[in-house]
């Protein structure tokens, strides 16, 4: 007897409980990462089983996984793992800079696995009502994550997210009820509300009721999936959430909602024949794509830009399914996967940028970010190129697959429109990213904040003063309004470059234990190194007092260690490992798709396409 599916739900739940009970942040981090690592493993196991048995069900058919669910499980687990890995360093830095309180971080670590777990439940639940419940649960668990920073804007975003999302879900509830009603018509007893059961009696469902239900569900789940014009919460929530959550929202949460919609789509198609629901999906998909392009073109906020790009991609996926040929559905699923893998990279990079520049306004970030954060820019650039649909990145393949399918089935005009929309948003993203990433920075800012050197090295007080005064002088000069605005903001937050590094290390000087805490979560050898080097730096502070000879020898060693480390790991920026991991996974899958995955997607496409190949 297998408990794969149950475990998939239990692992995150357990992690949430652990986080709730635990006081150690490290334990919380570990719980999150482990739980999702476990789910990745379970997802792979599920993949194997689904390929073997086609359908896996547990708990008396309460949980059921076919190829489509398995595909979603894989995506959700990988993205969740990535973002929980990223969250570790992200929140440590946030904590160090004072952007969040430990309580909030705990909130994150409790809610994050719940969010992930709820998504698992969505894709595994067989009962459509439970699926609805799970989707509501994803909304409820993520809304506090969106509001995590407790800024005015994030509260606003959270409010819009929850209100519009709940309203959508209320509509979806109506739709669910109607579907149930359509099923109940022919059975005297309480029918089974499982999707698989409904599918088996699809031809007996009441067609008018199903039609009505699909409209409700389309608007309802469509709102959650971010289809235009129900998408309005999307840019707000995605841009205001902390980056790991943005990644989850954009990477998988949208797709999970779309998954729910797809289940109804499959049902409707089976009941009504193909054209009704697919045409609606096509219209909404195309609408979303067309709407996204102009917003991308004139966007000023980096994360909102990414959010609109998600809108475009979700539109493409939706339209691909709406085109309803085996190839387009396959392409749409592939697109789902690639987009789920690459969007987190973008949001992680945006998070890195946000943390070091303390703004997401692109005119303040750029130009010339490449000089300031070369590695982040690299990941952002690669991911940006991917998300624009350039080869050799996977999204190009999936887009072309969708288009090919569209053309092959003779839906030339619609496919051409699709192509035009893709091109339009390409132009927007390219312009925006070039403007931000390339060029010469207006002011020299902090370099890529490396973990060790920068945080550890204490700075003599007099240089501190000098730096901040020069900073103030710069503010007073304030050549351009933008610049002034930027520095003022940075002063307000008290942790900003150019004096930013100084502020931070100054704080550490006052509270050495805090520094230790920053490093506490590292794998053992490294944390030890950091500890050692901290103790050595204290000697160095003696040197400022005139005791240079005392610390002369040990300092050489520590410098050596540090130099060795920085040569090996200097580019390792906070959050970059997770970013790099996701990027690597994406790149690998871009050039190499293992056969089981292909088979899985083919099966999933078969499920969506109904009788199609």
């Amino acid at each position: 007897m297998n408990h794969d599916l149950t475990l998939l739900l239990i692992a995150p739940a357990l992690a949430a409980i652990v986080c709730l009970l635990s006081r150690s942040r490290r334990a919380m981090e570990l719980a999150n990462v482990l739980a999702f690592a476990l789910t990745v493993g379970l997802g792979l196991e599920l993949l194997r089983q689904v390929l073997l048995h086609r359908v896996v069900s547990e708990c008396g058919d309460f949980l059921r996984a076919d190829a489509l669910s398995a595909w979603m499980v894989l995506l959700v687990s990988v993205v969740s793992l990535g973002s929980s890995l990223y969250a570790v360093r992200y929140f440590r830095r946030d904590l160090a800079s004072g952007a969040v309180t430990p309580g909030r971080i705990k909130e994150f670590y409790v809610l994050n696995p719940l969010f992930g777990g709820a998504m698992f439940l969505v894709v595994l639940a067989n009962n459509l009502g439970v699926m609805w419940f799970a989707l509501e649960a994803t909304a409820l668990s993520s809304v506090l994550l969106v509001a995590l920073y407790n800024r005015k804007t994030s509260l606003e975003a959270a409010w819009k997210y929850i209100i519009l999302g709940s309203l959508g879900l209320a509509l979806a509830l109506f739709g669910t009820v109607f579907t149930y009603a359509a099923a109940i018509r022919h059975s005297a007893t309480l029918p089974n509300f499982n999707w698989s059961h409904l599918m088996s009696m699809a031809s007996q469902l009441d067609p008018r009721m199903i039609r009505l239900a699909f409209i409700f569900v389309l608007v309802g789940y469509g709102a959650k999936a971010g289809l235009a014009p129900m998408h309005t919460w999307l840019p707000d929530a995605h841009s205001e959430a902390p980056s790991p959550t943005s990644a989850m929202l954009s990477g998988v949460s949208l797709k999970v909602a779309l998954y729910a919609l797809l289940r109804f789509h499959i049902l409707t198609t089976a009941c009504l024949g193909s054209s009704f629901s697919r045409n609606l999906l096509l219209v909404f998909g195309l609408g979303s794509m067309c709407l996204a392009a102009p917003f991308i073109l004139v966007q000023t906020n980096l994360k909102r830009l990414l959010a609109y790009s998600s809108l475009e991609h979700i539109g493409l996926i939706c339209a691909g399914i709406g085109l309803n040929s085996p190839l387009t559905i396959f392409g749409a699923l592939l697109h789902m996967g690639y987009h789920a893998l690459i969007k987190p990279v973008l949001f992680f990079s945006a998070g890195n940028i946000h943390q070091s520049r303390h703004t997401l306004q692109m005119r303040l970030i750029g130009p010339g970010l490449i000089r300031v954060l070369p590695l982040t820019v690299l990941s952002m650039g690669l991911a940006g190129a991917a998300v624009m649909g350039l080869p050799p990145f996977g999204l190009f393949f999936s887009e072309i697959t969708v288009l090919t399918g569209g053309f092959a089935t003779g839906q030339t005009l619609v496919s051409a429109l699709l192509l035009a929309a893709i091109l339009a948003s390409f132009c927007g993203i390219l312009c925006q990213l070039t403007r931000v990433l390339l060029g010469t920075p207006r002011v020299e800012h902090v370099s890529e904040p490396k973990m060790r050197g920068e945080f550890i090295r204490p700075v003599p007080p007099h240089s501190r003063g000098k730096n901040s005064s020069s900073e103030q002088a710069q503010v007073r000069q304030g050549k351009t309004t933008e610049y002034t605005e930027y520095t003022e903001e940075s002063l307000g937050e008290g942790i900003e470059s150019p004096g930013g590094r100084v502020h931070a290390s100054g704080a550490h000087l006052a509270d050495p234990f805090r520094v230790l805490r920053v490093f506490r979560g590292f794998p053992l050898p490294f944390s030890r190194i950091s500890r050692i080097s901290w103790s050595l730096t204290r000697f160095r502070s003696l040197r400022f007092l005139g005791f240079g000879f005392v610390s002369n020898f040990p300092f050489r060693v520590s410098d050596l260690v540090k130099r060795w480390w920085s040569r090996r790991h200097a580019p390792v920026l906070d959050g970059l490992p997770a970013t790099g991991l996701m990027l690597a996974i994406f790149l690998v899958f871009s050039v190499w798709l293992p056969a089981p995955l292909l088979e899985l997607m083919r099966q999933a496409a078969g499920i969506i396409g109904g009788g199609l190949r």
Binding site: N127, G129, V130, W132, F133, E136, A137, L140, V143, L144, A147, N150, R151, K152, T153, L155, E156, A157, A158, W159, K160, I162, I163, S166, L167, A170, L171, L173, F174, T176, V177, F178, Y180, A181, I184, R185, A188, L190, F193, D206, R208, M209, L212, P235, D236, S239, E240, F295, V298, Q299, T300, N301, R304
Partner: protein, 222 residues
Amino acid sequence: MNSSPSDFPSQLITLLAAGMLVIQLLMAVQRMLLTSIRLFALQSLLFAAIATVIAYCHNAPEVYWVVGLTLAGKVCFLPWLLNRQVRRIGIVQEIAPLLNPSASMLLCGAFTVVGYLVARPFTSLERLGNNTLAVAIALLLTGFFLMLNRRKAISQVLALLTVENGAMLAAVALTTYGMPLVVEVSMFFDILVAVMVLGILVYRIRESFASMDLSELKLLKG
């Protein structure tokens, strides 16, 4: 076991459903927040009454669960929670809708008509009462409108809850016994958590914005 529309339980259900709609319309013109909350509680009570009628007349003991949950949750707990929140935050009671009462009344009437029009093809599918589905859809549309028409965060939450009531009514009307129990329970649970989460948000918004006026939430544009 279709009940003919003329038998007593059915008529009773129709009456109660109409009552829900009337309460909804009252909420549309109501200016005081606390009264609105009470109206909502009343509406939920009516719904519980419908469920009781069903459970009793159709001999469906599991529907008592629904009754119980509704009574506990929607009639008692949620109004209490919202009430407490209102008092704790000290919100100004005035709701200040965007449209004036007569206009909103008119619109709500229009929405009710739309609801009837939409539900007309499905009247034959209803198992209980006359036009309960139409009432449910009308509840949805007017609830939607209520959300549109309210500036205050809490009143939007209330509107959302009435929409949920509509959904429950639709469930009962179309399926006799409501949804499967697991769904009912999870729905109830969801709503509960939703209101709590919304409460937290309302509290935080109140803290940050120093007001509950949603029209001030316009920082995120473009």
